[in-house]
Amino acid sequence: MIKATKQKERPKPFLFPEFCKACGRCITACPKNCITFGDTINPKSGLMPVQIDMELCNGCGLCLSACPEPYGLMPQVDNHEPIDPKTLFGEKNSTASKAVRVPDEVLPLPDMNPLIIKGTYASAIGAALAGCRHFFGYPITPSTEGAELMAKILPELNGVFVQAVSEVATVNMMYGCGGAGMRCMTFTSSPGFSLMLEGISYMIGAEVPGVFVNVMRGGPGLGNIAPEQGDIKLACRGLGHGNTYAVVLAPSTPQEMLELTMLAFQLSFKYRHPVIILADGYLGQMTGKVNLPKEMVKPGLPDWAVFGDEAHRANLICSIELSEQDLEQHNLHLMEKYDRMISTEQRADCYFCDDAEIVLVATNTPSRMAKGAVEELRRAGIRVGLFRPISLWPFPIDAFEQSISEARKIVVVEAGNGQLEDEIRLAMSKAGIMNYLPIEHIQRYGGVLPSKQAIVDQILAKEVQQ
């Protein structure tokens, strides 16, 4: 032991017999042969601790640095007699102090001209406004421009941009950085998001915040870089292993890319939980007008963080619970969080739903086509409305139930094979809406979006038939 060798007086060892596992490392370490395997069973440990002949011991200390147990062989304190550990160690486990939460500050922004930027840029700027100064990511089209903007602006803000070796590394860097209490994020696209799911499960388990912007592209497999909505099931139903859910937000304009990214950070820290933003390839790359908000956030530091300072020394970020009872309790705790999210984080936009006989349901870019279709069909005298869920999880079932009160059918418009429709069916089933309205759908796949004309034509065709 480094300290021991520097000490002038050489303390003799003493042994807590119940903490000795009798590995014998001290025996081979001892040059004086004063330690031997014991022959008496310790009634507490059921093992036979070593025996030390103190008469032969010259206090060289080699046995101390050979003992793998923190409290097995220790330098002698006052006497040679083993003491009851309880009286030796006292009540207090750690000398660490209790951390105090440093609250966020909200800083007002001056009135600025609107920005003319693409969706990923809007999201990156939303993150910066939300106080994010740490970005981890791996380039993948069509999300990369967001990362590129972060690489440009974060160093100017004394922030950190790290291009990770993979999406797997990315999510784990976020686990570390978010666990340290920082606001961090990534941009990715479908194949990359698949790779992050394991880490997201760990973040949920360990209650680590972080924001994931998934600019969805065509799949499965390598697919293509055109917009699709094929990751709704991953985000809403499959966030890695275990009993996992997280708030999933779906923007439909560059403006919402900014606003929902800011919201995502707020929710992520409110719940100590990751938040997913599902955009699509069009939305990521689409340039449009983006108004800046009225205020930005200067983040504080949460009390639970493993920040690496005196105040936070007692903290632990961890998702392992060996005992079934403890893990069940932890799951109950997570489920209570999910319940709170379900009751407070449902968000939706209803467009002409009040008197709608036909309610279109769409999100992301397809919701824009659907909105155009609503306008055209209304001009043709058909009472159509658009229900646009903004939170895909929790599905905004309360607003949805209201929006279909006059409806005779639901038409789900999506760039995918019914993943949004599944969310609707499940949400209605869970809400106890037994008599489903007929649900039709308009779907395209592989990077093709349903066009406004296709929506109009299909609805008109069915209406004429009737």
Binding site: G24, M296, F307, D309, E375
Partner: protein
């Protein structure tokens, strides 16, 4: 005993009984020793408050039971990535990534390589016992040739690969400043191990760089040996394959420093390019001669033709004028030379469908673009194409106006082929009166705000395009 250990291991099954003060490691396991040396080093350097220890997956998963420091438990193999996250979150923290051989040298190879090559000051402790302990004695990447394990029951064969020498591998990289392999099998080796671990943390505390200590360790349980036999096994069997010693020790000055994140409003507004300067407007009304509320454009060409930039300028001009506008780029996989087209919408109120499958206006920079998109232009629409490179014109719908203007030639005459997209913009404005030319010129000036020297050339290109279009109209009349 080091004060860096918790006084009671409360996290260990609630710290009851023996577990309150004894580790969960088997008798003779090396982990206990390594963690003891860690604790002593942290204490000696006085960095307990700043230390964040990353526990791996493997037998050391519960390191956080013992060390009274900030603790994070990582996913299998990812401790170095988690460590990077911690170090970046708080550069003052002392981050110790602790991993076994399956964790570091198998599932986590990519993460340790990146962390090492980045070379941030952090300390990696790699405990190599040549076997998977926690899962029950399976073959590790560092398992010796011929060694019997649960998944190499007849001994590790050549087909199963060779033992992976991580210390040598890491030392080859330029990132790390200190790499040493040590062992625990006798007093001398233990003293070296203590010193190496102390140094590896000191290198970090002093901001010198990435330090890696590989510790050859004993797993008596899965070697099916006594602790003493296991020590002998490491000494006799492992060290010939994994030679002990310093693999790299660079004389480096402290270099690592990071500033505190900046959250000033003014700075943020500056870096995102937000400003308050009023942009002048020139439009009297929405260009209803083209469409009453939503105008679709498509600009298409080869990558590098500038279709996206031109689209961007139109979008910017329209938004400056108070309309809603969107631009969606579409590229081939190539950075240059592939197909590239831009869909632009300008709406009086709100752009709904941002794609332009049937545009009002098409600008084509090459022949394939014109052949492909020409027929999609709406009746009554307008097509402009580069007659320098396009000689054949497809069939188009009724009343579509077609203008062949030599964009490239005009640009070349001005001295820079690159501005052919601006030539096209000038022609587009003259042909359709989409927006006043001042609107488009303002957008060009804004886009070139950081390259002011380019503005006159671009303005000339715009004017030349407009003139060429007028000449073409005159010729037709």
């Amino acid at each position: 005993m080091s004060t860096v250990f918790y006084q009671t291991f409360e996290r260990h099954a609630h710290g009851a009984g023996l577990k309150g003060h004894a580790t969960h490691y088997c008798a003779g396991c090396g982990h206990g020793l390594v963690q003891k040396y860690l604790a002593e080093s942290i204490e000696e350097l006085g960095v307990q408050d700043r230390t964040v220890a990353i526990s791996p997956v493997g037998c050391a998963v519960f390191m956080y039971y013992y060390l009274d420091v900030g603790n994070t438990q990582a996913a299998h193999g990812r401790a170095p990535a988690v460590a990077i996250g911690h170090k970046m979150a708080n550069p003052e923290s002392i981050v110790i990534s602790y991993q076994g051989d399956g964790d570091l040298a198998s599932i986590g190879l990519a993460e340790i390589m990146q962390a090492a090559q980045m070379g941030l000051p952090m300390t990696v402790i790699f405990v190599n016992n040549a076997i998977y302990g926690m899962t029950g004695g399976q073959m590790a990447p560092t398992t010796l040739s011929g060694q019997v394990t649960a998944t190499s029951p007849a001994g590790r064969t050549r087909e199963m690969g060779q033992p992976l020498k991580m210390a040598e591998l890491i030392a080859q990289l330029d990132g790390p400043v200190y790499v040493e392999r040590v062992a625990l099998y006798d007093n001398k080796q233990r003293t070296r191990a203590q010193r190496a671990i102390l140094k590896a943390i000191r290198m970090q505390a002093e901001g010198r760089g990435f330090a890696f200590v590989e510790v050859l360790s004993e797993c008596p349980t899965h070697l099916k040996a006594t602790p003493e036999e296991a020590e002998q096994w490491v000494k006799e069997k492992m060290t010939p394959i994994f030679p002990l010693g310093v693999k790299k020790d660079l004389e480096t000055e402290p270099w690592f420093a990071m500033k505190k994140p900046n959250h000033s409003v003014q700075k943020l507004m500056e870096v995102i390019g937000a400003n308050k300067k009023k942009t002048p407007t020139f439009c009297q009304a929405f260009p209803e001669q083209i469409d009453s509320q939503d105008i679709a454009l498509k600009l298409a060409g080869a990558g590098g033709d500038g279709a996206q930039t031109a689209a961007m300028l139109i979008t910017r001009a329209a938004i400056n004028e108070g309309f809603d506008a969107t631009h969606i780029p579409s590229y081939g996989p190539e950075s240059r030379g592939g197909t590239s087209f831009a869909d632009v919408h300008i709406a009086s109120e709100e752009v709904l469908s941002p794609a332009s499958p049937t545009p009002h206006i098409l600008v084509a920079f090459n022949a394939p673009s014109l052949m492909k998109f020409g027929p999609t232009v709406q009746p009554g629409g307008t097509i402009l194409y580069d007659s320098t490179v396009i000689s054949e014109v497809p069939n188009v719908q009724d009343d579509v106006q077609l203008y062949g203007i030599p964009f490239t030639q005009i640009a070349a005459d001005l001295g820079k082929v690159l501005v052919k997209n601006i030539v096209a913009l000038g022609a587009l404005q003259a042909a359709t009166d989409l927006m006043p030319k001042e609107s488009l010129l303002t957008a060009i000036q804004q886009a070139l705000a950081n390259k002011c020297a380019m503005i006159p050339l671009n303005e000339a290109a715009f004017e030349s395009g407009a003139e060429a279009l007028c000449l073409e109209m005159d010729r037709r009349n």
